[in-house]
């Protein structure tokens, strides 16, 4: 429950700011600031304490809004970009890199979506001879906060009219009612992230259960939406092959292959600085016991374990979902 909203003075009269404020009760505290950095970028903040009661910060995004993604993280395209209309997430996954990425756990929402649209359409125009892929779930879960942000009704129309672009909406949320208001848009992929049920229960705090996520995937599939499966990160655990096999089997028995656009998976990986910060702030979390090693500045599992896990995942995925393209997101 958000109790405090910080608003940059320059967008206090922005139509989206006013729209967002109508979604909160009157007893929410509003504090105006000159720049979101005064709150969000302050050093010595305690991420863990803030995560218990994050505030919402409404701001204007200036500068570059669309960023390149390494080719190895693609889902079939050559031109891959991500954009972040929001930073930080309502969920609390112990492996999430966001806890080491920003100084603050507050939700930072950039309300000037129209400036994002301009840059997205500019990129699409630049790449007119090939498809451009846009990923929206890098710094937040776009769907989980949709009730406040209005992400779906704002961004989907951009892709509906630009068929030469693909939008991946990556989520763990089950709030699909806004999506279901639309007829399926072929170039909008709703991609669900999973870890096996027992792992999810242990380390993905506040995240809807695997069962609930599969139910909403089925609803979207029945409605004709293209879906994605994301197993990123892959988490080593007891009975690894068995629990991942059960997850794949469960999904495959509920979701028809024709509804699937792609599958991707990847190992846990963190830049050194982020990894150190995460460990410092969460010394007792389970992921600290995983076999990480520094590989050229990136902390990930050692090569031997990585190869072993990759082989198991690929083999099991092919067993249950043989006709769906599989992408391994490697550093």
């Amino acid at each position: 429950m958000i109790q405090t909203i910080y608003i940059e003075n320059q967008i206090r009269r922005h139509h989206r700011t006013e729209q967002i404020l109508t979604k909160f009760k009157k007893n929410v505290d509003i504090v105006y600031c000159d720049h979101y950095g005064e709150i969000f970028n302050i050093k010595s903040q305690n991420f863990k304490i803030q995560k218990k009661k994050p505030a919402l910060i409404l701001a204007k995004k200036v500068g570059k809004k669309i960023h390149d993604i390494p080719k190895s993280f693609s889902i079939g395209g050559k031109k891959n970009y991500y954009f972040s209309h929001m930073l930080n997430c309502i969920y609390d996954c112990e492996y999430c890199f966001l806890q080491g990425k920003h100084m603050s756990a507050h939700y930072l929402l950039f309300v000037n979506y129209e400036d994002f649209f301009i840059e997205i359409e500019k990129k699409i125009k630049q790449n007119c001879f090939e498809k451009s892929y846009f990923f929206s779930g890098y710094d937040c879960d776009s769907l989980a906060f949709d009730g406040i942000t209005g992400f779906i009704k704002s961004f989907f129309p951009i892709f509906k009219r630009n068929k030469n672009a693909i939008l991946e909406l990556r989520t763990k949320s089950v709030q699909i009612h806004e999506i279901l208001k639309y007829k399926p848009i072929d170039n909008c992929i709703v991609a669900f992230s999973f870890t096996p049920d027992n792992i999810s229960k242990l380390i993905e705090h506040k995240v809807p259960s695997v069962k609930k996520r599969i139910i909403v995937m089925k609803k979207l599939a029945d409605a004709g939406w293209k879906l994605g499966l994301r197993f990123d990160p892959i988490v080593p655990a007891c009975n690894f092959a068995k629990i991942y096999e059960n997850l794949f089997k469960n999904i495959a028995s509920n979701i028809p292959e024709k509804s699937m656009h792609s599958i991707s998976f990847g190992m846990m990986r963190f830049p050194k600085k982020m990894f150190k910060k995460m460990i410092k702030e969460n010394p007792n979390k389970r992921i600290t016991s995983l076999p990480f090693e520094n590989r050229n500045g990136i902390y990930s599992y050692n090569k031997k374990i990585e190869n072993k896990l990759e082989n198991i995942i690929t083999k099991k995925l092919k067993k249950y979902m043989s006709n769906i393209p599989i992408y391994n997101c490697k550093v």
């Binding site: 910080y6 505290d29 504090v31 600031c33 000159d34 010595s44 903040q45 305690n46 304490i49 009661k53």
Partner: protein
């Protein structure tokens, strides 16, 4: 009171401090420094003005453990608020250089939250919807050198407004206003120390 954390309270004047000293049974350590080791409360009387507040806060911070919580309690003016009303400060701006601090608002409380401007001289005309005081910016500058925004808070009691200027303030009134809010302040202090 929480068992492990310590709270450092900075108050400008003796007449503001007395009700708190009595409520928490603080013992005098030196002329301006009081504490109750069992309750883990330290209180310092800084004197009026942001420079004095900063100096006193730094003194307390250096004297106490590095996990301490910092609280500024005092009087402030506001255009419309009733005399004696208690406010939790949501933003502190130094009127001289316009720098602002934003204490994290993580607490379960129905107390009104408002921004405050620290001025060098007492305010007679209230031009904005902010509270006005003379210490909070110095206190924040001092405390934030030692701890994050979750551990620095400021509580003000309204002492003057557009119908009752600073000229009507008396020592007795200040004592009474703070005294009437001591249990509310104590409740908030307990909330602060839960983090």
């Amino acid at each position: 009171m929480h068992k492990t954390n310590e709270i450092n309270i900075v108050v400008a004047m003796k007449r503001e401090a007395t009700p708190l000293i009595n409520y928490w049974d603080l013992k005098k350590n030196s002329k301006k420094f009081y504490s109750n080791k069992k309750k883990k409360i330290n209180l310092i009387i800084s004197g009026i003005g942001k420079k004095r507040a900063e100096k006193a806060t730094t003194y307390l911070a250096e004297k106490t453990n590095n996990n301490s919580f910092f609280l500024n309690v005092g009087i402030a003016g506001h255009k419309n608020y009733k005399l004696g009303e208690i406010i939790l400060i949501s933003k502190i701006t130094d009127n001289k250089n316009k720098y602002s601090w934003y204490p994290s608002l993580l607490w379960k409380t129905k107390i009104k939250k408002k921004p405050l401007i620290t001025v060098a001289f007492p305010k007679i005309r209230y031009t904005t919807d902010h509270l006005y005081d003379m210490e909070a910016a110095g206190f924040f500058k001092g405390a934030r050198n030692f701890v994050g925004p979750e551990k620095v808070q400021c509580i003000k009691i309204v002492s003057d407004n557009k119908d009752s200027s600073i000229l009507n303030i008396s020592s007795k009134k200040i004592g009474n206003w703070i005294y009437s809010k001591t249990s509310v302040i104590n409740k908030l202090v307990n909330e602060f120390l839960k983090i």
